[in-house]
């Protein structure tokens, strides 16, 4: 089992003829991802990477191939429109990799999505990967091993760092989800934690947060009230000064809100262990699993 995507997910790649998209589509195909179509306006009728048909619109791709999930690599000024196109085509899941989409464009996207069934991951995210089954986005494949830990993160490289530490500690994963570093985005911690909580194959979760907003504080409350599965956390940005954007558009302490100290306090208050440094995420998970008597069950690689 896994969450959101698996080997049966039928994937359409929006912006497939771009440099980054074709590079990552090839890696995804080699990983076994069921990519059924690509979309680039004006390139309809072409075949790329030897076997992937390209369409002018997402709806054409859905009609012809039955695609039910998309991954978006189009430039920032067109990406919000691409998300809406995928939502209008009734896909189950849309993953938007693109960085630097204007925030007010995302405000419109979120309003457009109301009442529709599509779930959005991103933008400005590394994507999602279900181990040995399906890869949408940029996640390097070799760091993953099959197992029972779910990973959720607001940062790309920290997702890789945490996952690799888990793998080196013998703790395989079910699915790894990069939420993205923007202030207005799709899925947030609680929705993904909820999905992992329902997944019988996921026994524990790692959540990696950072400064800005209050999603980690909200997640802490949700975890305390709703799940018995162990959760380990890490928060980046303890040393970040207020008012400064730390790389990600969403990583900013404003109006005294969104500090790492507040987040760590809220997580600890909910009984969640927070790794002291980024280098300790794997070791913290090992010790928490041992305490919970789950280490042997999670030791898969």
């Amino acid at each position: 089992m896994s969450i959101y995507i698996n080997k049966n997910t039928r994937v359409v790649v929006q912006g497939i003829t771009g440099h980054q998209a074709s590079f990552h589509t090839k890696i995804a195909l080699d990983y076994g991802t069921n990519i059924v179509a690509g979309v680039t306006p004006g390139h309809g009728g072409e075949i790329v990477l030897g076997r992937i048909p390209v369409f002018n619109t997402v709806q054409d791709a859905v009609n012809a191939t039955g695609a039910n999930a998309s991954v978006i690599y189009v430039p920032a000024r067109f990406a919000a429109d691409s998300i809406c196109e995928a939502v209008a085509a009734n896909l189950d899941l849309v993953v938007c990799i693109t960085e630097h989409i204007p925030v007010l464009d995302m405000v419109k996207v979120r309003a457009f999505m109301k009442g529709k069934k599509t779930k959005l991951i991103g933008p400005n995210c590394p994507g999602i990967l279900t181990v040995d089954e399906c890869r949408l986005g940029l996640l390097p494949t070799y760091i993953h091993k099959k197992g029972h830990v779910g990973v959720i993160s607001r940062s790309g490289t920290l997702t890789y760092e945490a996952t690799y530490q888990l793998t080196l500690a013998g703790l395989g994963q079910t699915t790894c989800v990069g939420l993205g570093g923007d202030p207005v985005k799709g899925l947030d911690f609680i929705e993904v934690l909820e999905a992992f909580n329902k997944d019988p194959d996921t026994y524990a979760m790692v959540m990696i947060g950072e400064i800005g907003g209050t999603a980690e504080e909200d997640a802490a409350k949700w975890i305390k009230a709703n799940t018995k599965k162990p959760v380990v956390a890490f928060i980046a940005g303890r040393q970040a000064p207020p008012g400064k954007r730390m790389g990600h558009a969403g990583a900013i302490i404003s109006g005294g809100k969104g500090t790492a100290a507040d987040k760590i306090k809220a997580l600890n208050a909910a009984g969640i262990e927070v790794a002291d440094t980024v280098a300790d995420i794997g070791a913290t998970m090992v010790s928490v699993l041992k305490k919970a008597g789950l280490f042997e069950k999670c030791h898969t690689c």
């Binding site: 920032a76 000024r77 630097h100 204007p102 925030v103 007010l104 995302m106 405000v107 419109k108 979120r110 309003a111 590394p126 940029l138 996640l139 390097p140 070799y142 760091i143 993160s153 607001r154 940062s155 790309g156 490289t157 920290l158 997702t159 890789y160 760092e161 690799y164 570093g181 202030p183 207005v184 990696i208 950072e210 400064i211 907003g213 209050t214 999603a215 909200d218 890490f234 980046a236 940005g237 303890r238 040393q239 970040a240 000064p241 008012g243 400064k244 954007r245 730390m246 790389g247 990600h248 558009a249 969403g250 990583a251 109006g255 005294g256 790492a260 002291d276 440094t277 980024v278 280098a279």
Partner: protein, 399 residues
């Protein structure tokens, strides 16, 4: 992106919002001339820096004649102003705003920001004008009123009316206050603001509604469609290293310490700053070189970090995902040749092609480059070597 108060007020004026008459001044003589032209009994001399809290810090003066304007202007220009938002080092005042005084009856607070949770623009108002809104939010949150705005309809008249009544405007100015709210919302969406704040928004004794102070911040991701806003950028207000980094598409924030770091990815870059501090070092910077680093970009990053004597060691922390460690290692070797290494460089490489990357660094035998097998060892070594370098009396520049 930030702009100055006088620039924010100019934009509000274009949209029909009342602001006091005034002009920017760069010298005491110019300040005196502007005050003379205004011809009002009271003129306000306001320091223009990218930080709030100027009034308390002595950056806003009331002048009752032209000589006073000139005196205050000469006092403020060139002065280092320290407010709760500038940090202890403060900011040097290079520009002033000279404007007419207003006859204030009551002060209010009004702002628009993006609310992450609802993914909507939210309008906030309070009758506690002139105070720091953070303080109001912490001490009396029930005095702040909010309206969430549907992007499909924009700010509805009933919402402006609801907020205006809750803020307690008297009936003579109610419509004027609502009108200002609608205009400020238009500014917010048309100019892609991340913050539009009027504090205080004042009702004068003549029953006008005026934006006495104004602060507009803009969404960096939307600047491509606002060349008029980009043109207002004042680079003298920015850290010179941060400006140089921005030009090279590097994400850099100066943190003031002496242990620098160069990292791929914003999250890992933040976490690297944290781990340096955790092991007793003072982080010099946040620096994300991004996922598609070229040799040129890495060389520029080294040049910026070593451009003055702030830094005593550099911790390179790379997790090769799509980035390959051998490419990064090659970049470090090239950078050492092109810009030279003036301080110890500690490199922790992990992930894709890590063996090749480590081999490249080992073979190149660049003096001052140390390999760290693990991130923790790397952070500790960077802190230790920075202390030694500093104790030896070497500066980043001269060594």
């Amino acid at each position: 992106m930030n702009i100055h108060e006088y620039q924010s007020k100019q934009i509000l004026k274009w949209y029909g919002i009342n602001v006091p008459n005034g002009q920017p001044a760069f010298s005491p003589e110019e300040a005196a001339r502007i005050a003379k032209d205004l011809g009002t009994p009271v003129a306000v001399v306001k320091a223009q820096i990218y930080a709030g809290g100027r009034g308390k810090a002595g950056g806003v003066k009331l002048a009752h004649n032209i000589d006073e304007v000139k005196y205050f202007a000469s006092q403020l220009l060139g002065k280092r102003l320290v407010t709760h938002q500038t940090g202890p080092e403060g900011k040097v005042v290079n520009r002033l705003l000279i404007e007419e005084g207003s006859d204030i009856e009551k002060e209010y607070y009004l702002s628009f920001v993006i609310d992450r949770k609802t993914a909507q623009v939210v309008m906030m108002g309070s009758a506690e004008g002139g105070m720091e809104i953070e303080k109001v939010a912490a001490e009396m949150p029930d005095r702040i009123f909010t309206e969430y705005i549907d992007p499909a309809t924009g700010l509805m008249p009933f919402q402006a009316k609801k907020l205006a009544y809750r803020m307690g405007f008297k009936k003579e100015v109610l419509n004027k206050a609502m009108d200002l709210m609608e205009k400020l919302y238009t500014v917010f969406v048309e100019k892609d603001c991340s913050l539009a704040e009027i504090n205080p928004m004042v009702v004068t004794k003549e029953n006008t509604v005026v934006a006495l102070d104004a602060k507009l911040n803009f969404d960096d991701s939307a600047l491509f469609r606002h060349p008029d806003i980009v043109a207002l950028r004042d680079e003298s207000e920015e850290d010179p290293k941060e400006s140089a980094a921005a030009k090279a598409s590097l994400s850099y924030v100066n943190l003031g310490g002496d242990v620098a770091c160069m990292v791929n990815g914003a999250g890992l870059a933040m976490a690297t700053v944290d781990i340096i501090k955790f092991y007793g070092g003072e982080p010099a910077n946040f620096l994300d070189v991004g996922g598609d680093s070229t040799v040129e970009k890495i060389a520029e990053a080294f040049r910026i970090m070593q451009s003055d004597d702030q830094v005593h060691s550099i911790f390179v922390n790379i997790f090769g995902g799509i980035n390959k460690c051998d490419v990064i290692a090659g970049g470090i070797v090239e950078a050492a040749k092109v810009v030279g290494l003036k301080v110890p460089v500690i490199a922790r490489l992990d992930g894709t092609n890590v063996e090749q990357g480590r081999a490249i660094l080992a073979e190149a035998k660049v003096p001052q480059v140390y390999m760290a097998p693990h991130m923790t060892d790397g952070a500790k070594l960077a802190v230790e070597l920075a202390a030694k370098h500093k104790a030896a009396g070497k500066s980043g520049k001269g060594a």
